[in-house]
């Protein structure tokens, strides 16, 4: 079997565009930065060949098409289990390992997941089930192994990627893995990623960018992954770049600001840096380039619904006037604007046409609005972002239209937060106020009115939010007032 990294996607099991050997080869050449030494897939004390783990799912009686929640931190094990589930015909859904139990339970129920995998997948936390393990990781089977007893769910060869920022905490995009891999190839082309590159993964693998534009891109280009996790500190980041001879890295604008706040320089071995996930400021782009004149700096724009990559700006090769742009669409992707009320100056909502768009959105409930409001036609997505497009086709981000903010690099749906708070006992109303702190960081504050004692309600709300919202999703402050106060203040 050829492990060729170029040319058309080879046909693997379940319509996957790769064979198991390619996955094993990727894991064998990759490294967990936070653990000593590489893991050899033929070493019995490390990870088994990925087909063995895939076969393990079959032995457990989990039928193809079943969703599997993967609540695992960044690492070779997470990727091993992600690809093993795909090769077993299952539909993996990666989520943050920090996801509170109540939310994992709700996610699993909403998506009809057959199992939850992760160190904290125990029946006590997650509402029962049969606990087993696969390749050293606990797996909680949520339903009895009775293939005839429940529907398969989704087409084998697909995956579910959460879109908590855009549509609430329980919506996900259903993507064929073949189109994600196609998107990964296009991303690799746009940033010059190639065999022999050492790619540092600092962003969580449950982010579509890290999964597709880094892990899947490494799978098909022959790159090597260095998998890292929190905490992120400039010193630790720079040490990893040097120690692992990293040639390619990807950060969000808040993380690049941390780097720019110090005086350290990136090591010269780092050929390229991509920055995306939120808007970069032209002055910061200029500062990064001025400090690292050899560096290839790419600004990226995308969204999970699009598979995810949409456009790239090679900032190092562009004049400063373009540093406010996220570049031109990738090959196979086109962009247009649609008129948006209240906007002028040639701006409009960005529409993206791509053959890597999600098949559909799933997991929405009645209160979440239309399930596929972003998918305005097959392969055409309304991004919810306001853009201008210049005469050369470069995309210039203006602002968000939709009701979400990016906090610490994490997209947060404020409507979903308000809905959650509104559902708490005694809460009459709640409102979110978005603000900017020192250094341009974004935050939001929550104003809540309650019928009972504000002090007790505030403590109860604090605990409820802690048990449901991720740390990035929590408000900077919560102001709780008795409902009568509103009347009094009027």
């Amino acid at each position: 079997m050829s492990l060729c990294h170029r040319g058309p996607d080879p046909a693997g099991p379940h319509g996957l565009p790769f064979h198991p050997e390619l996955v094993d080869a990727l894991l064998a050449r990759s490294t967990d930065a936070d653990r000593p030494g590489p893991v050899d897939p033929v070493d019995p004390v490390g990870l088994p060949p990925v087909v063995e783990t895939a076969a393990g799912w079959g032995a457990l009686g989990v039928p193809p098409g079943s969703p599997i929640v993967l609540a695992m931190p960044n690492g070779l094990r997470m990727l091993h289990h992600y690809f093993a589930a795909l090769l077993a015909g299952l539909v993996p859904m990666p989520v943050s390992a920090a996801t509170p139990a109540l939310r994992v339970r709700t996610l699993a129920a909403r998506f009809g997941a057959a199992a939850v995998m992760g160190q904290r997948a125990d029946p006590g936390r997650l509402g029962g089930g049969h606990l087993t393990s696969l390749a050293g990781v606990p797996a909680l089977l949520r339903r009895p192994p009775d293939p005839a007893g429940y529907p398969a769910g989704y087409p084998p060869g697909t995956t579910l990627l959460l879109t908590s920022g855009t549509s609430g905490p329980f919506s996900a995009c259903l993507h064929p893995v073949a189109s994600l891999v196609r998107n990964a190839r296009r991303h690799a082309e746009s940033v010059g990623l190639r065999a022999g590159d050492s790619i540092l993964v600092s962003l969580p693998l449950h982010y579509s960018f890290a999964l597709v534009a880094q892990a899947m891109a490494a799978l098909v280009t022959g790159g090597r992954l260095i998998l890292s996790g929190p905490p992120f500190t400039p010193a630790g980041y720079l040490a990893r770049l040097t120690e692992h001879r990293v040639t390619s890295s990807s950060l969000t604008p808040p993380l690049t600001r941390l780097l720019l706040a110090g005086t350290d320089r990136l090591p010269r071995g780092l050929r390229m840096l991509t920055v995306g996930g939120d808007a970069s400021r032209p002055a910061e782009v200029a500062a990064l380039l001025a400090r690292h004149r050899w560096l290839e700096l790419y600004l990226t724009y995308g969204l999970t619904e699009a598979g995810p990559r949409v456009s790239t700006l090679a900032a190092h090769a562009e004049p400063a006037r373009r540093h406010a742009s996220v570049g031109a669409p990738l090959r196979g992707v086109s962009a247009a604007l649609r008129a948006t009320p209240g906007t002028g100056d040639g701006a409009g909502e960005l529409l993206v046409r791509t053959d890597t768009a999600m098949l559909r959105r799933v997991g929405m409930s009645a209160g979440d609005g239309p399930a596929d409001r972003n998918l305005v036609a097959p392969g055409v997505l309304a991004t919810g972002d306001l853009f201008r497009i210049d005469e050369d086709g470069y995309l210039f981000f203006q602002s968000r239209i939709s009701d979400f903010v990016v906090l610490g690099g994490e997209k947060v749906c404020l409507a979903a937060v308000r809905r959650f708070v509104q559902d708490q006992p005694g809460v009459v109303s709640c409102a979110t106020r978005v603000g900017a702190g020192d250094g341009g960081t974004t935050h939001y504050d929550l104003d809540v009115t309650v019928t009972g004692d504000p002090g007790a309600a505030g403590r109860q709300l604090h605990a409820a939010m802690g048990g449901f919202l991720l740390a990035a999703e929590r408000p900077r402050s919560v102001r709780v007032e008795h409902v009568d106060a509103l009347t009094t203040h009027k």
């Binding site: 390992a97 010193a235 048990g467 991720l470």
Partner: protein
């Protein structure tokens, strides 16, 4: 309350780790077993600074020092030993 006990209480009360204090082991991974994400680590750093009245610099805020309860405890003890006025852990409500 010992340093280790205080760190456990911080994990449960401030970071909302869903592992009972009595089930926590000093060598469990903060990331893999307790599920801390990037902001969870930032919160742990802030809470440790407040609880133990120490300054955790960027140089000390490393994956190695924040790998387990034991490594956090060792970091805090090192910082307390190096300070002019070692403080007992602040009382936690």
């Amino acid at each position: 309350m010992t340093v280790s006990e205080t760190v456990r209480r911080i994990l449960v009360d401030d970071i909302f780790v869903e592992v009972p204090v009595e089930s926590m082991n000093d060598d469990d991974s903060l990331r893999d077993v307790f599920g801390l994400d990037s902001l969870g680590f930032v919160e742990l750093r802030v809470q440790c600074q407040q609880a133990f009245d120490v300054k955790i610099t960027n140089d000390d805020f490393t994956p190695d020092n924040f790998a387990t309860i034991r490594s956090v405890r060792e970091l805090v003890e090192r910082l307390l030993a190096g300070s002019a006025h070692p403080a007992a852990p602040a009382e936690r409500a």
